[in-house]
């Protein structure tokens, strides 16, 4: 008791409480806990019950106590060693810190408070950096003297260290300047890392520099000699941990690190930049958090280095670009100058030649004109470029002089007059004199006006061009307006941009560099002027130039205003205009070839040149001026080759190629594109559009001719190539097909025909293809193919396996793969696919999965019937059958029918179905019958016919038959196995029934037993009736714990023991008490519950005792219910000594007594009383039924849908039991029979009148039977049987004779006998059979 009381102090202290109880307290100054003062007990109890970490010290040695929370957070390995020890010993390593504080508390009684105090505790095997926020408060003894202190502590190590690391990472990421050099990045990072010398006593950052490693930054090293670091692992991007020794920098700690972590500075998609060495705090373990922190720091540094290097690279690139730009300008400038010299040397002698050949050989003169015109054009381009490079370089100087702007402008405009008029346009010039001069560089002005006029002419097809000069305040205003195509509004902002050209604009020529207007603007601005444009799309464009007017006299015209350069503009413009017939003379025609070439170029000179060149090679040439004409021509007469310029007005070369490729007539015609735009992008664009070749201007005549020849030959070779391709495809082992975009099959190979039976003669095969399964017969298969077809025409590539129908009708499965490709010649998309015949594989897979499905069904089934249903449904799925029938022709008259549909019987089948099934029955076993789509197999009960009723028109192929045979074989085996299992289960149940109750029941009893249903298990429930010596009956219902054979075995022994004990004692309480002793010896019998009673069937007197068993129920004839809940005590074998109680009950007449086990009434989530109430209701409703019928109703009425979870035993008795008398067919026996019946009726509580009625009716029946007995020999026997329900009496009198037909005349009183019976009884039934006559009487019991 002393121990227990002392131990109570630590109750509720959890694990620590238990360990505290183990401490040898008598060896401490505090002594045994039972002697502890109340104050200490209170303090300990407060401590232990708190969930906040606490420890306390008490007494002279400051004995240590703590609670579960403290142990968990802080004590570490010191537990349980620390309990009961002096606090100074427990916390020796930090005593220097905390000792004085405790001293203060004990001497002053004042509490202390420390926040996040750093303490080096040794609780994990090493001195550990830890932080604690705690308060020491004084503890007083019962007399008020200070004897100890209580520490409430919160360990904050995680928080403090976490915040410190977070701060470092935050600082690392707080680089104020966005971009720095690598050096700056490293210096900044080092500064931040250097501020956290607790987590990073030292760091060293190394960068890889080719094969060498250099130290780029370090913190905390402070002149120490550092060891060399292994760079191998970091170089591979891995982190390495290095053990350290010796004198190393210690950071903020007293001792130096013992470990360093080498972390790579990772670069995305490349080798690491370098690595960081981090000396580790020796007072913390390297856990995930620590490692993560170091890696994040390294990550920050790596990112910084990355962005610094990136920035440096970009910087360098920008500088390089600027340098390139400067070089380009210089280059242009130089090159333009360089051009001028040769140009001059060409143009000079050319002039001479022209004048010398004037009026002579036309052909020579024409060639000279071409050279001249193009020489002028080249000169103009060179000059423009030169102007630009001058402006760029800032070297363009305007040589200003006072000019009469009106006169100069009018004269320049007039230069274009003839060209404008030749184009069918009007030129209006309105240039009245201005009041003053404008300071201009004449050369520049000329370029401005000529460029604007040239531009106007280029884009104007109707109307005219108008040039005006006027005054607006102190400005001269010059306008050049046209009625041309105008500029789309979205293009206006770019109008004066250099090299900007408006795409797809209708123009007289596609020539031009796109620098004209840009140059105009530059030139105007060089002369302090401004230029604006105003345009309405489709209406026209007006350019307005404003120049400052100067004071002074307008100078007189000084010499010719227009320079010779103006001629080049006019010449150029004239070349755009029609009517300048292509000169076809010149080169001699070569030997004729049969190659026809179509030339398309908007430039007449180029057109003429190409024509002459190609004719010289003997080709037949047709030349047109733009893409549209070329297309028309090509469609009309397909040429062998088309040579086309890329840049043409209207339809350009690329558009031409696309149009040619889109038209099947011209899709195969080779096209050679010519373009002035160099560079791989341009040629790729051309080739992508479908051009066969691409030639960049300038090109040599020889190169052009070579390319033309090569392309013509290639086109011819292509036919040969096509033959080779066909041979290749034809040799494929797989079927090959090409589909148009709409899914029509347009090409196939012989394998295709071999597999499907459809040959090339039927091409094209348009969807729906003829090999699709019939949509009516096989809607599902048809849909499968339709889905695959959707895939085929909808996706770029894919594969599928589908059922198809061979031309001869047989079923095939093919696996196809397809790919969408662009046909190179036409640019159209086609679908190229292959497939192979996978019919055999398909059926193999189908067979395997069908077998698997069937096996699953068979293995999951719990009975033969279940197995059969499962198997039929899997067959139905397999064939998508409308219904599957299994008919067993067994021993019974009618075959047993199982179907996948709603329940049916042989009689319910149609005549046709019965015929089909009967035909099948006659076939040999396991031989599939195609016509009747069925098979026979062996069922445990006889021959079974399996008939698969297919959807209409669905064929039953050979594969189907093979599969059916295979499945039927498997099903037969399965059913036999299932049958065996059923039998085994039956046997098990029989076994259980055999051991659980008597073979013969006394009259008036009914019993039931049901095993647990799911999973089916026998158990430990039993019932028993034991006839005792004194005509009384022992009745027992019991329930052993558990399930299975073990419980059943225990049950058998308990039942036998109970039976023997009851025979010996005839006293329920004593019997159960003796059974208690038996139960403790029998493993598994403990806690069994038993209801044991002794019934006197004569009186209904029941003595009973219950060992923890649910109460028996008694239902009175009027429906009232009694629960036999007296005499109750504990289950078997529990606390042996107390005597068991016993109770008495008198079972009323015609009442029904029910004993049962809890499985009958126990339901999950329901109180037992609910089940008992329900049971009482069931009994009340069935009280008018016979006892067997009632037993059946109770068992089925109380079961859940899925059956019983637990096994159930029940025993019913209706008082009194039925009466059964056998007597000789002698009149002298009547009296004693009557006496017995009278006594039984009295026990039934029947009133005197009814009793008399029954006696007379029964007497008449017996008398009748005796008469029969006499007639058929002397040894006749008669049986009277009577039973009572709540409200009725039932009697039967059976003899072995023949009923006497009433013959009132011959024997009048016998007829009266029947009349009496009918009058006295509610119901009289006479049944006469070969074996004898039975009279059944029934009457209601009033009351």
């Amino acid at each position: 008791m002393g121990m227990a009381a002392g131990g109570d102090v630590f109750a509720g202290g959890g694990d620590v409480g238990r360990q505290l109880a183990e401490v040898a307290w008598e060896q401490t100054p505090l002594g045994p806990p039972r002697a502890w003062p109340q104050s200490l007990r209170t303090a300990v109890s407060i401590l232990l019950s708190s969930r906040f970490p606490m420890w306390m010290a008490w007494g002279p040695q400051l004995t240590f106590f703590c609670n579960d929370a403290y142990r968990r957070d802080t004590l570490g390995r010191k537990y349980p060693w620390a309990l009961g020890r002096p606090a100074g010993e427990v916390w020796a390593e930090i005593w220097a810190d905390i000792g004085p504080r405790i001293e203060t508390v004990l001497s002053t009684g004042q509490a202390t408070w420390d926040e996040a105090l750093l303490l080096f505790v040794e609780r994990s095997g090493y001195p550990e950096e830890s932080y604690h926020t705690f308060s020491y408060s004084p503890l007083r003894a019962d007399d008020g003297v200070l004897v100890g202190m209580l520490c409430v502590v919160s360990e904050e190590t995680e928080r403090v260290i976490g915040e410190r690391r977070m701060a470092t990472l935050r600082d690392l990421g707080s680089d104020p300047s966005a971009i720095r050099t690598e050096h700056q990045v490293l210096a900044f990072a080092a500064a931040q890392l250097g501020r956290n010398r607790r987590d990073l006593p030292f760091t060293m950052t190394y960068l890889f520099d080719g094969d060498t490693v250099r130290l780029a930054a370090s913190t905390g090293v402070d002149g120490h000699e550092m060891p060399p670091w292994p760079a191998g692992e970091p170089a591979r991007g891995e982190t390495a941990l290095v053990e350290l020794t010796g004198d190393l920098p210690a950071g903020d700690w007293p001792e130096p690190p013992t470990q360093a972590l080498l972390v790579p500075l990772l670069r995305q998609g490349g080798a690491p930049y370098g690595f960081m060495v981090a000396g580790l705090n020796r007072y913390r373990v390297l856990d995930e958090a620590y490692r993560g922190f170091v890696e994040l720091a390294a990550g920050h540094m790596a990112a910084g280095i990355g962005s610094a290097r990136n920035y440096e690279t970009q910087q360098r690139r920008a500088e390089e670009l600027a340098e390139l730009d400067r070089a380009k300008t210089a280059f242009f400038s130089n090159v333009s100058h360089e051009f001028r010299t040769p140009l001059t040397l060409i143009m000079g002698p050319l002039e001479e030649l022209r004048s010398r050949w004037a009026g002579q050989d036309d052909a020579v003169r024409a060639e000279l004109e071409v050279i001249h015109r193009n020489g002028l054009r080249l000169g103009k381009l060179v000059n423009t470029l030169l102007d630009f490079s001058r402006i760029e370089a800032g070297r363009m100087r305007a040589h200003d002089e006072p000019v009469d702007l009106a006169a100069a402008t009018a004269e320049l405009a007039s230069v274009f007059r003839s060209a404008v008029e030749r184009a069918g346009l009007r030129l209006q010039v309105d240039c009245p004199p201005l009041p003053g001069p404008v300071h201009l560089d004449r050369g520049m002005w000329e370029k401005v006006i000529l460029n604007l006029l040239s531009n106007a002419l280029k884009f104007t097809f109707d109307g005219g061009v108008r040039v005006t000069v006027g005054q607006d305040g102190d400005q001269a205003v010059v306008t050049v307006a046209d009625t041309g195509i105008g500029v789309p509004p979205e293009e206006m902002p770019w109008l004066f941009e250099r090299f900007h050209r408006i795409e797809n604009a209708r123009s007289r020529s596609n020539e031009g560099s796109g620098i004209g207007l840009a140059l105009v603007k530059e030139l105007v601005e060089l002369q302090d002027g401004s230029i604006t444009a105003d345009s309405t799309f489709g209406v026209g464009t007006t350019f307005t130039i404003r120049l400052p007017l100067r004071a002074g006299r307008v100078p007189a015209a000084a010499g010719p205003v227009v320079s010779t350069g103006a001629d080049s503009y006019v010449q150029e413009v004239l070349r755009w205009l029609p009517g300048d017939a292509d000169t076809e003379a010149g080169m001699p025609a070569g030997p004729p070839s049969d190659v026809r070439v179509l030339v398309a170029d908007d430039n007449a000179d180029m057109r003429g040149y190409l024509t002459r060149l190609l004719r010289s090679a003997g080709h037949e040439v047709h030349a047109v001026g733009d893409g549209r004409h070329a297309l028309d021509e090509a469609r009309a007469r397909t040429p062998d080759l088309i040579v086309s310029d890329v840049m043409m007005p209207g339809m350009d070369g690329l558009e031409l190629v696309s149009a040619l490729r889109a038209d099947p007539r011209t899709a195969g015609t080779p096209v050679l594109l010519l373009s002035a735009r160099a560079g791989p992008e341009a040629s790729i664009e051309g080739l992508e559009a479908g051009a066969d070749d691409y030639l960049v201007k300038p090109f040599s005549a020889a190169e052009l001719l070579a390319r033309v020849r090569a392309n013509v030959e290639l086109a011819r070779l292509r036919n040969h190539h096509a033959r080779w391709r066909t041979a290749l495809i034809d040799s494929l082992q797989e079927a090959f097909f090409v589909c148009a975009e709409d899914g029509a099959v347009i090409e196939i190979n012989p394998t295709f025909t071999d597999i499907l039976g459809y040959g090339p003669e039927g091409l094209p095969y348009r969807p729906v293809h003829p090999w699709w399964p019939d949509p009516v017969e096989e809607p599902q298969r048809h849909q499968e193919v339709a889905d695959a077809f959707t895939l085929l025409v909808g996706q770029t590539r894919g594969s599928y396996t589908i059922p198809v129908t061979h031309r001869d009708g047989h079923r095939l499965w093919v696996a196809a793969a397809f790919n969408r490709v662009r046909e190179p010649e036409t640019g159209r998309h086609v679908i190229v696919g292959t497939f192979r015949d996978v019919t055999a594989e398909h059926y193999a897979v189908q067979r395997d999965s069908a077998l698997a499905a069937l096996s699953v069904h068979l293995s999951e089934a719990e009975s033969l019937t279940g197995a059969m249903r499962g198997a039929l449904s899997s067959l139905q799925d397999l064939w998508q059958a409308t219904e599957v029938y299994a008919v067993v022709f067994g021993d019974s008259d009618l075959p047993a029918v199982t179907t996948t549909g709603p329940g049916t019987s042989w009689a319910a089948l149609t005549e046709r179905q019965r015929h089909t099934l009967t035909v099948l029955r006659g076939k040999p076993l396991l031989t599939p019958v195609a016509e009747q789509t069925g098979i026979t197999l062996e069922h445990p009960d006889g021959t079974m016919v399996l008939h698969v009723e297919l959807a209409e028109k669905r064929s039953f192929t050979e594969q189907d038959q093979t599969l059916l045979a295979l499945l039927a074989g498997r099903l037969g085996q399965g059913l036999h196995r299932m049958h065996q299992i059923d039998q085994q289960r039956e046997t098990a149940l029989e076994l259980q029934r055999a051991i659980l109750g008597p073979a013969r029941l006394p009259a008036g009893f009914a019993v039931r037993y049901a095993p647990a249903t799911r999973p089916l298990k026998v158990g430990g429930d039993w019932y028993d009736t034991i006839p005792l010596g004194d005509d009384r009956i022992g009745i027992v219902v019991g329930d052993c714990v558990g399930h299975g054979l073990a419980a059943a075995a225990v049950m058998g022994q308990l039942r036998s023991a109970c039976r023997a004990l009851l025979l010996q004692n005839t006293d329920p309480a004593h019997t159960l008490t003796a059974l208690d002793r038996f139960a403790v010896q029998l493993p598994g019998a403990l806690c069994a519950t038993v209801f044991c009673g002794v019934l006197d069937p004569a009186t209904g007197d029941l003595t009973y005792s219950s060992a923890g068993h649910p109460p028996a129920i008694v239902t009175h004839p009027d429906g009232a219910t009694d629960l036999l809940d007296q005499g109750r005590s504990r289950p078997l074998g529990v606390r042996l000594r107390a005597p068991r109680p016993e109770a008495h009950y008198l079972v009323p007449a015609r009442a029904t007594l029910l004993l049962y086990t809890d499985g009958l009434v126990e339901r999950r989530r329901q109180p037992l009383t609910t089940g008992i109430d329900r049971l009482a209701d069931t009994m009340r409703e069935g009280r008018a039924d016979g006892i067997e019928e009632l037993a059946t109703d109770v068992m089925s009425g109380m079961a859940a849908d899925a059956g019983y979870d637990d096994d159930v035993a029940l025993l019913l008795y209706r008082h009194p039991g039925p009466l059964e008398i056998d007597f000789a067919a002698e009149p002298t026996t009547l009296y004693s029979v009557r006496s017995t019946l009278r006594g039984w009726l009295a026990r039934c509580g029947v009133d005197p009148t009814t009793t008399q009625n029954v006696l007379v009716a029964a007497g008449e029946a017996c008398a009748n039977a005796i008469e029969h007995g006499h007639r058929h020999g002397p040894a006749g026997k008669i049986r009277l049987w009577a039973s009572a329900t709540a409200g009725h009496l039932h009697l039967t009198i059976t003899d072995s004779g023949r009923w006497k037909t009433p013959q009132p005349a011959a024997n009048p009183h016998r007829g009266r006998g029947l009349t009496l019976m009918r009058a006295l009884m509610g119901e009289v039934t006479v049944t006469t059979g070969a074996a004898g006559t039975t009279i059944a009487l029934q009457t209601r019991i009033p009351g």
């Binding site: 008399q1252 007497g1259 008398a1263 016998r1310 006998g1313 009058a1319 006295l1320």
Partner: protein, 95 residues
Amino acid sequence: MSTPLTFTTGGTDVLAAAGEIDMSNAATFAAALREARQTAGTAVLTVDLTGVDYIDSAGLAALFPHVEHVRVVANPLLAPVLTIAGLDELTTIRE
């Protein structure tokens, strides 16, 4: 054990029966009735069945030949049987 039945006569016109009348002793009952009728002559014979606890169709059959000349006294237990047999008009029920 055969069915008990005893007779006593009270004067010339009374036959009192006690016990039970069934197939086994209906002949005895019939004989007793005949004898009592002879004794009673033309007077109405009172057949006192108040001591009879049971009578069935065989017993009733013995009564039928005498219905014009007898009146019956019976206890209530026999009333239903006598009524059904059509003897109620000549029967007095007495406790």
